[in-house]
Symmetry: C2
Subunit: 120 residues, 2 copies
């Protein structure tokens, strides 16, 4: 039996935010959006699939870059309006070639870069 | 010098998603929203402050429950349209008295509860 995606609360654009967390390190890697079909595809395939708002198309993470996310656990929050996907990340998660998209810290009013791009 | 919140990308409602992560355990605790003033308040006060969409008011996390979030690090993602606040969480983060809002896993089409409410 498949998961009933209609039990989730999507926004007015039919999207739900999905946070990706590294299964090994616990690092928060990125946040992107899914629609109901992307949720179903992710659960069925075990490959994390987002909905690209800019391209208005499915975004199978890593399909072009090779930096895919294998689903380890799929979690729903208390309000059912946010998802947490625990993943095994291949290569960097960020399109800037950093391990995580959250590589900039705001400290004492200035910005500090916490990670440098990794060689592929 | 304060951080210039206008460098962030807010949505059409003037909001940006903020993921809260436990500084000690790395656990993802919750996701909520901030507007520019909530970002500024969080950075100035060191107490994580969201914008409540339902109440249309500032939501100083823990102000009524005592389950506050002390800011440890404030991070911005590559697109500057999502925040990660690393926090010291007092008590449970979730309004259901669970440590994290992401206490439900979807496994084999069914749902599994990963955490029970904690005594206060």
């Amino acid at each position: 039996m498949g998961f009933d995606t209609s039990t989730l609360r999507f926004d007015e654009q039919g999207l739900i935010p999905a946070i990706a967390q590294d299964a090994g390190t616990g690092e928060v890697l990125m946040m992107a959006w899914m629609n109901a079909d992307a949720v179903a595809k992710t659960l069925e395939s075990g490959r994390v699939t987002y909905w690209s708002r800019s391209r208005q198309a499915f975004w199978v993470k890593g399909e072009s870059s090779g930096h895919s996310q294998a689903l380890v656990d799929f979690r729903v929050d208390c309000d059912r309006d946010c998802l947490l996907v625990v993943v095994n990340q291949t290569g960097p998660a960020c399109h800037t070639s950093r391990r995580s998209c959250f590589y900039t810290a705001v400290r004492e009013g200035g910005e500090v870069e916490l990670m440098t791009p990794v060689a592929d």
